[in-house]
Amino acid sequence: MSPARVAAAALALALAGRPLAAQSDSYAVPLAPTPAAGAARGQARLHYAASPFGIAVTVDGRASYDLAITLTGLPAPASLGRYGVIVAWAVSPDLSLWQPLGAVSDGTTTLGPVALNKFLVVISAETTAEVTTHAGPVLLRGYSPSIWLQSFITHPLFRGVN
């Protein structure tokens, strides 16, 4: 099985094991810390990228969002190894695409746009802010609200949970 399929399967398992509540905020991406950054907390908020139409979409109709990423308790990058900066990424669910968004720090940083139908937001430590390939430890991660668009077979009703 390819790494991408393994990752997709892992994501599906993570979703299946999580209580499926009505997703009432189409724009919030809670960010959960990994053990590498246990004290970190964060959330990304999706805003349509600037557009004369009020809502921004690509030519093929994908929503285009800026991400206002708010973080606290980030570790110093150097405390994790030879890293100099914390970087945010938009990542396709199968992990095949990592779109670097730019450097982040404690506080709110607005980055983007991101025009993926479904995506993960990943915060990692990297050597520089200009990296194009993810290499450092992941500190936080979260799912776009659209990740919750799943086939009905993932619904608790069909998993014996009510």
Binding site: P52, V57, G61, F152
Partner: protein
């Protein structure tokens, strides 16, 4: 339409839900069983088993019941009608035959034309329009976006009584602002507008340099029509059907026809005036990769012209865009969106070709390449907005919440909505579940504008402001409801600025009369309440309006 988890909702009893819509129709002019046709479903999807055999309650309606469409006059394309200050125009709503996709339908037309006559008029003119209603429903004419005398706004039940079939009404129509506007009935828009009663008003500014130079101008209406093979899907006679998501057609039309075609010379710059006249569909159109510059919207030019990849139009919105066709060849006018497949839990690209622009090898003259490359800053627009900036950041004067209540929907609909996919798309671009949508009517679905301060809803809201005041209105489109959906909110007779969305200030302002509010979003509007009278504010999804989603702003 989505499937949704039950939230703040009036939950129907199972018995009521089972009883509700299982009526057979006695549709005039058609066999009763003809209403039992399955409505078109998205590819690979079938009607829910629990819904098979059910029909929307309240009877069915199609124009020209009992008439042979072949005996009706064939609708003609829109013709340019130039008028000047003081002129009088006759406008007749009538039955007409339309040939669409090789099929013949009895539908409506203004003066025998679809779209209705393109009325081109100088800014600041006043004209008289003698409207005659020769269709089989009461009707009016609403002059969408115009800041005219309240008596002539055409809002049935607010500014005038509906014009009965065979009767007439005289409108006095003023044009204080330049740009692209449109007219349509304000009675059962879900039927009358969808069946062809719409037309554009193109208001010319005295300034010849108001827009950049262009080699051609095209006025296009975008709409859709719901058919099953050679049959129109009937409308709810007493109340709108498709009340949850609005009627989304499966034939996309430009100026009421399939297959729009335009031929231009190489390098031509074409200014398109686009109007979304559909009941519910939001469009995302582009021109085969040709660069698009957006220059104006509902009621003014933008502060700054911008290059855009595509043009997003919610129902009733207008945009003026300039497109340069640099090289010879074919440029497809397409509507490209991301549909939601609820069964597979995936987004799927949905692309419809609306037409084709053919660019020949002869060079366009004059060559406007340089003017097209220049993105204007419209100082006059910014200067006109400047006096309002002081109010941008002040607290809202009013806050409305948009939501919905349902009762008596089919049990299968309620059950399946309760096991939704846990995701609410901010914008529904297509109807993902037309069977459930079709079976929801205005009797079962009540769309709501709620005044947060008083709790009053829709027409019970007492909203009064003084003439000349600047009103900051915040509208929240609640995500937690039975069926959250985007709403194109239209305010009659005034102009407004969208000063912020979800707290993010708008960087490039334009005067609007219709604003799209996605699910879960908040918009801050600044209303220039300069025009006295009683003015409707409502959702321009025709079925949502028909299901109650309207209130009135009283400007005293």
């Amino acid at each position: 339409m989505r499937w949704l988890r039950l939230a703040a909702v009036v939950v129907p009893t199972a018995a009521a839900a089972q009883q509700a819509p299982a009526h057979r129709h006695d549709m005039p002019g058609m066999a009763a069983d003809s209403m039992a046709m399955p409505i078109p479903m998205p590819a690979g999807m079938k009607m829910l088993p629990g819904l098979v055999g059910l029909l929307p309650g309240g009877g069915a309606f199609l124009p020209g019941a009992g008439l042979d469409p072949g005996g009706l006059p064939l609708a003609q394309p829109s013709r340019l009608t130039r008028v000047k200050d003081g002129d009088t125009l006759d406008l007749t709503a009538m039955l007409a035959r339309r040939e669409i996709n090789g099929h013949t339908f009895a539908m409506y037309a203004f003066n025998g034309q679809v779209p209705g006559p393109l009325i081109r008029v100088p800014q600041h003119a006043t004209i008289v329009v003698r409207f005659r209603n020769h269709i089989d429903l009461p009707s009016t004419v609403h002059w969408h976006g115009l800041r005219l005398d309240n008596r002539f706004d055409g809002a049935a039940g607010v500014t005038q009584a509906p014009v009965a079939p065979g009767d007439s009404f005289v409108y006095r129509v003023q044009f204080p602002d330049a740009g692209i506007y449109w007219y349509h009935p304000h009675v059962r828009e879900d039927i009358e507008q969808a069946m062809g009663l719409f037309g554009n008003l193109l208001v010319d500014a005295p300034d010849r340099d108001y827009y950049s130079p262009a080699n051609d101008e095209q006025v296009l209406t975008l709409s859709d029509l719901l058919v099953n093979a050679d049959t129109l899907i009937p409308f709810g006679r007493e109340d709108p059907d498709f009340a949850l998501g609005g009627r989304v057609g499966n034939l996309l039309l430009v100026n009421g026809e399939r297959g729009y075609a335009l031929t231009v010379h190489r390098g031509a710059v074409v200014r398109f005036f686009l109007t979304n006249v559909s009941s519910s569909r939001t469009f995302n159109v582009s021109f085969g990769g040709a660069p698009i510059k957006v220059v104006a919207s509902d009621a003014s030019r933008f502060e700054r012209e911008e290059l855009v990849p595509s043009v997003v139009l919610a129902p009733a919105e207008r945009y003026a865009v300039e497109v340069r066709f640099e090289r010879p060849g074919h440029y497809a006018l397409v509507n490209a969106v991301q549909a939601v497949n609820h069964y597979r839990g995936e987004f799927e690209a949905a692309v419809d070709t609306l037409g084709l622009v053919t660019v020949d090898t002869a060079a366009a003259a004059p060559d406007y390449a340089r003017a097209f490359a220049n993105r204007r800053t419209n100082a006059a627009v910014a200067a006109g907005i400047a006096p309002y900036r002081a109010a941008f950041d002040r607290p809202p004067d009013r806050q409305f919440t948009l939501t919905v209540q349902v009762t008596g929907l089919p049990l299968a609909t309620v059950q399946f909505m309760s096991i939704d996919t846990a995701y609410y798309a901010p914008v529904e671009w297509v109807d993902g579940m037309p069977d459930m949508n079709w079976l929801s009517t205005g009797r079962q679905v009540r769309w709501i504008i709620r005044d947060d301060a008083t709790g009053k809803e829709n027409m019970a809201i007492d909203w009064r402001v003084r003439r000349g005041s600047v009103v900051k209105l915040r509208i929240v489109n609640a995500a937690r409801s039975f069926h959250p959906m985007q709403h194109p909110i239209h305010l009659h007779g005034q102009r407004m600025l969208v000063v912020a969305r979800d707290g993010v200030p708008t960087r490039n302002l334009v005067w609007k009369d219709t604003v799209i509010i996605p699910v879960g979003a908040t918009v801050d509007l600044l209303i220039d309440a300069s025009n006295p009278g009683d003015w409707m504010l409502h959702c321009h999804i025709a079925e949502h309006l028909g299901a109650g989603m309207a209130t009135v702003l009283h400007v005293e």
